[in-house]
Amino acid sequence: MGIIEGEKKAFMTGNEAVAWAALVAGAEIMYGYPITPQNEIMQYWTRLAPKHGRKFLQTEDELSAGFTTIGGVLTGKRAFTATAGPGNVLMQEPMSMAEAMRIPTVVVVQQRGGPSTATVIYSQQEVTLTCFGGNGEGLRVVYSTSSHQELYDYTIKAFNTAWKYRFPTFVLADGYQAKMRESLVLYDPEERGIEMVPTEPFVGKPGMPGEDRPPAHLRNTYNIEEELEEVLKKDIQEYEQMAPEIIEYDEFNTDGADVLVIAHGVVFRSAAMAVRKLADEGLKVGYFRPITLRPFPQEQLRQAAAKAKQLMVVESAYGQLLKLVKDNLYGMDLPIHTHLRPGVGVTPEEVVADLRTVLEGRED
């Protein structure tokens, strides 16, 4: 019997949407440590879990939340955690182990202001950290959502991406999405024809290790450079091979745009409203939105950018998306305007004003 019968319209916060999504995705255990603004994920999980035979462990810090999540995943359970800000900083240690050992962890990040404790409210300043945190190559999947429906959809998807490709997978949202209330449709993935990728234990398989089966000897430590390189080469190759299958993006009006706006997450909503308003006035503006920040939709952005005269990157950070954009457009000669508000929300009106300035040639 499904947890949700049919399609159910609901009005809720983004944090709750995550808890419900994890529930219907068949997550069996959550490990977590309190930090604003993700707390209601745990608070709703702990309200929902006992009714559905799911578990929860509140740990002593985010290091432990991440490492216990790894432990849960190693037993073949869909396990997840959620964090934000300074908690995300600590989370990078366990997630680098997950990256090294191809452990399919799922982490939901509700970005808050940084650096340090800063604000509990909102930002897009954890893009670099979530995409490239840890002492490795950023072999992870990062979905940037922009609405409650997407938080629900991509939390479900995150479990499947993680278990199918065995790279740690992040759902990157923010304090606004965490706390805002809006309506969305809850559904059981099965009823939509979404098949949950089966899980498999890394340890504790049946049989006598060393006799019926080889023992699992899982490690992240190597002796020599070449040994590490061999492992990384294989992981990188698999990552790059997987990338086209999971890259997601959205675009509008890119053909011959005088300005192509690039934004992600909740800021994309403001950017899209601004672009559509000006497009309705007949101005030649479009947008490009990366949904996967890792792997990044490089080819798609390059194609869109090739058709545009200039770009404008809009984000609630001081150049973290901008850095991704520049990296991925390397070699293309195109002016990039920016609207960068670290730790502060961006309204459609602000984007409209900046776009008009650029379109009218009143340079910033």
Partner: protein
């Protein structure tokens, strides 16, 4: 509303599920009373990580004659990081003359939050109303609402606040009114009102389909983040 029907002091606490519309109902109730020329104090007792709160509305509500007992976000460091700090005067809010409307946040303790308010236990006139939105998944059915309200502790009435934000239509509110009515019957509680956003109110009149009074809600909280 007929002012004669109101008691000398209106003392009401709004309680309910997370994001059920407690604060919105409390704010609108306070303004409604203030517009009748009454002295009104609105009290922030939202203690579990409140983000949509009365804090950013303090000035606006003050201009409309409502005294708001709440911190200013800017005057407290780390709200949300340190939890919500109880403003000392909130503890003595029932000693304010005139009407007192309390906005009680959600949380495992339900109506026990009122233990923090001096005199709340003894005050006979204090009514505790549970705000119900059937679009909230944990209060979507009659059985869920009954369980939920029982978990809150003392409750004196229900308010049907069913809506889907901007996607709300009258049918949905009606569905809510029926479910809340049935839950109230099982709980032995009255339905105090059906709350309707102002855009839809003109098509409804003074009472809903089941005779519950209609309260018109103007949405303030979307502007009241942190």
């Amino acid at each position: 509303m007929n002012p004669e029907e109101l008691p000398k002091r209106v003392l009401e606490a709004y309680i309910g599920e997370y994001a059920s519309g407690k604060s919105e109902n409390a704010v609108n109730r306070a303004l409604e009373l203030a517009r009748l020329g009454r002295k009104v104090t609105l009290v922030d007792l939202d203690l579990v990580e409140p983000c949509y709160t009365l804090r950013p509305l303090k000035r606006k509500l003050g201009e409309e004659g409502v005294t708001v007992l709440a911190w200013d976000t800017g005057e407290m460091i780390g709200l949300g990081e340190t939890g919500n700090i109880l403003k000392p005067e909130v503890r003595f809010c029932l000693r304010h003359p005139g009407d007192v409307i309390l906005d009680i946040g959600y949380g495992s303790f339900g109506a026990q939050v009122l233990n923090l308010v001096e005199g709340a236990a003894e005050e006979q006139e204090l009514k505790i109303y549970a705000v119900i939105n059937i679009a909230r998944p944990m209060t979507g059915t009659v059985a869920d609402i009954v369980d939920h309200v029982r978990s809150l502790g003392r409750v004196d009435g229900l308010i049907n606040n069913s809506h889907l934000g901007e996607d709300t239509d009258l049918d949905f509110i009606k569905q809510g009114a029926l479910i809340v009515k049935e839950a109230a019957a099982i709980l032995g509680l009255p339905v105090i009102a059906t709350s309707v956003m102002e855009e839809l109110a003109p098509s409804l009149g003074k009472t809903d389909w089941y005779g519950h009074p209609v309260r018109v809600i103007k949405r303030y909280l979307p502007q009241a983040f942190w």
